[in-house]
């Protein structure tokens, strides 16, 4: 068994191509942000062509599994057989979660490129390494850090947007948009028990969680069934 490289930025000559496709994924994430979804977007690329696009859709659908990858996969399978994935690459703004990482492996995806790490649910190194290790399906290589800063800034904008809508906004410092971003992999928790150097993205997630707690402790009534999942659910986590 040859080890598969993880979290290595691709070779410089490829860089522009990867950035171009990641740009398209970021555009999807922007669309998600405009519709109050956690801003995660992706594109699937086959033979240099985008064959499917997806953005996170968990809030609208009231379904916790409607991640960007699944939306794109379903649209691709309308017009292509599943075999196409073995010759297809994924570009996604945030590292695929454990669920999506497994789905991609079952579909025999060729390669996965992502922007920032997903420290809460990541399945390609952030928490677990579902793309490698034992399993019934072939492993796939993952490369992180492409347009990393933009992916993170989108997430931060989302949390600020959510916070402004919250009935009891957080202290002012949490509302201002921080613009400096640690380089990719900096402070990446090698051992999760020593999560002292948590990454910026996680911090934003925690701010969002703190916001939830605040809402609760202020006795804000639970939203009615039709609106319940939207703001509360989205604030707490990154759906990738």
């Amino acid at each position: 068994m040859t080890p598969i490289p993880t979290l290595i930025v691709p070779t410089p000559e490829d860089k522009e191509v990867h950035k171009k496709f990641m740009r398209a994924a970021l555009d999807m994430a922007e669309t998600a942000l405009r519709t109050d979804e956690v801003p995660v977007g992706c594109v699937f690329v086959h033979d240099g062509q985008i064959i499917g696009r997806g953005m996170n859709d968990t809030n609208r659908s009231l379904c916790g599994t409607r991640h960007a990858e699944f939306i794109a996969i379903e649209s691709i399978l309308r017009s292509h057989p599943a075999e196409i994935f073995s010759e297809t690459d994924l570009y996604v703004t945030v590292e695929p979660c454990v669920m999506c990482a497994s789905a991609l492996r079952q579909l025999r995806i060729r390669r996965v490129f992502f922007g920032c790490l997903n420290d809460r649910f990541g399945g390609c190194g952030g928490v677990l390494k579902i793309h490698e290790g034992p399993g019934t399906d072939p492993r796939y290589p993952c490369y992180g850090g492409i347009n990393h800063d933009e992916a993170i800034m989108l997430l931060r904008r989302f949390y600020i947007q959510e916070n402004e809508r919250a009935p009891q906004p957080l202290a002012k410092k949490s509302r201002t948009l921080k613009t400096e971003v640690l380089p990719f992999g900096e402070g990446f928790p090698r051992d999760r028990n020593f999560g002292n150097k948590k990454r910026e993205m996680v911090k934003s997630v925690e701010d969002a969680l703190a916001m939830q707690q605040l809402e609760l402790s202020n006795g804000v009534p639970t939203p009615s069934p039709s609106t319940a999942p939207t703001s509360l659910k989205a604030a707490g986590e990154v759906h990738a």
Partner: protein, 403 residues
């Protein structure tokens, strides 16, 4: 009369629990006359950490030391009429053995005495003991027979508290009924050739109503003739719940709309159970909000019982929050994580999928993920394996398949 199908629920151990049980440490022990035990413990105060190894007895009579361990200990130098105790001193990394010997040598039993032919010397031995507390009485008994007398304090720092598991299990009285429905839908999809013989059922934990049932549909072809290989029972089940929550005209997955494919799927997808669930729980939530103190208590409780670390906000009508899931097969990584994303409360599965299952964490050649209860993920659910063996519930799914 066909006998009522029955079975047994076996709790699945967490990944941390299995790993913790395998860890051992080396410790010093020393035999000493019973009446001098306190003297030695006092003398060792400065060397021995206070709160170490609380799951092990500090003192043991020679009779309670396991035979295999006793066989390796030197004979004591005290006269046979003297009552002897073994003291467990500390783990070997806390002090060099010579330091222990030196401290012990200063206490009375080891001093030269008039009329005694031999002056005993401290005999410090090293034994291996479990590093962590036992998480069940059986484990405690086993360890006491193997290593050193162990204390079992009902608890489990590596997983759900035993009383939570027992109390919850006691309430799962209709498991056989729900498993039957999961099998019914599994047979239906397999018989019409759209998927493996796998099925899933989701139950409202408050009313016991079945909210939805879903079979595997990965071989079903669309109008272009292509399959959707990710149409596992769990993925379809979770979408069915969302579809029942959505307003009329809204579709969970527009590119691959969830539709009932069998009679059983249709029966539950069209049933009203979701509206009644939301209605009831909304009422309950309103009551809770009115009694804020009670709510605080409830949150405190839910924290201590260990169901979830981020003691969840009152979000009853949210995803599959705390719902009960019954599965014919152990779910794959994708499906186990889908259940976690959906915040389910309980999963019961029947057949272990040793090559693809993501819930079991035993060292038996499986993936060992134990996804249902991991400190590094932000939700946890309780998991049981359903053990029964009737001809119609035998496993027909090849073991290289992800369920």
């Amino acid at each position: 009369m066909i006998p009522k199908p029955t079975g047994t629920l076996v709790p699945i151990r967490t990944r941390a629990e299995i790993r913790a049980a395998l860890q051992t440490v080396n410790c010093y022990i020393i035999p000493i006359p019973a009446k001098a035990a306190n003297e030695l413990i006092l003398a060792l105060r400065d060397v021995v950490p206070l709160h170490e190894l609380q799951h092990l007895r500090r003192l043991s009579r020679p009779a309670f030391i396991p035979v295999a361990v006793a066989a390796n200990l030197p004979p004591t130098q005290f006269p046979p009429e003297q009552s002897i105790l073994y003291i467990l001193i500390c783990t070997t990394d806390k002090a060099p053995i010579q330091q222990i010997v030196d401290v012990a040598a200063k206490i009375s039993p080891f001093q030269r005495k008039h009329g005694r032919r031999i002056t005993p010397k401290p005999q410090v031995s090293i034994i291996t003991v479990p590093a962590n507390m036992p998480t069940s009485q059986e484990q405690s008994d086993l360890w006491s027979k193997k290593y050193w007398p162990v204390v079992y304090k009902r608890g489990n720092p590596f997983g759900p508290h035993p009383s939570l598991v027992e109390n919850t299990q006691m309430k799962l009285t209709r498991a056989h009924e729900y498993m039957e429905i999961a099998w019914k839908v599994a047979h239906e999809v397999a018989d019409i050739g759209i998927g493996h013989r796998c099925g899933a059922v989701v139950v409202n934990p408050d009313t016991g109503d079945v909210i939805a049932a879903a079979g595997d549909a990965r071989s079903r072809t669309n109008e272009s003739g292509w399959c959707y290989p990710l149409a596992h029972p769990v993925m379809r089940l979770v979408e069915m719940v969302a579809q029942k929550r959505l307003k009329r005209g809204e579709v969970v997955s527009p590119n691959n709309p969830i539709t009932p494919l069998t009679e059983t799927e249709r029966k539950y997808l069209n049933s009203e159970s979701m509206e009644s669930l939301d209605g009831r729980e909304a009422q309950k939530e309103a009551q809770k909000a009115a009694q804020k103190e009670d709510q605080k208590e409830a949150q405190k409780e839910s924290k201590t019982d260990g169901t979830s670390e981020d003691a969840s906000p009152p979000m009853a009508n949210y995803l599959c929050h705390n719902m009960h899931i019954y599965l014919t097969h152990e779910p794959c990584v994708m499906c186990s994580m889908a259940l976690l994303h959906s915040r389910v409360g309980i999963v019961v599965f029947q057949h272990r999928m040793v090559n693809s299952g993501a819930l079991v964490s035993e060292f038996d050649g499986g993936l060992g993920h134990g996804l249902f209860w991991r400190p590094d993920l932000n939700w946890k659910y309780l998991t049981w394996q359903w053990q029964n063996d009737t001809p119609h519930t035998r496993n027909e799914v090849p073991d290289n398949i992800s369920a």
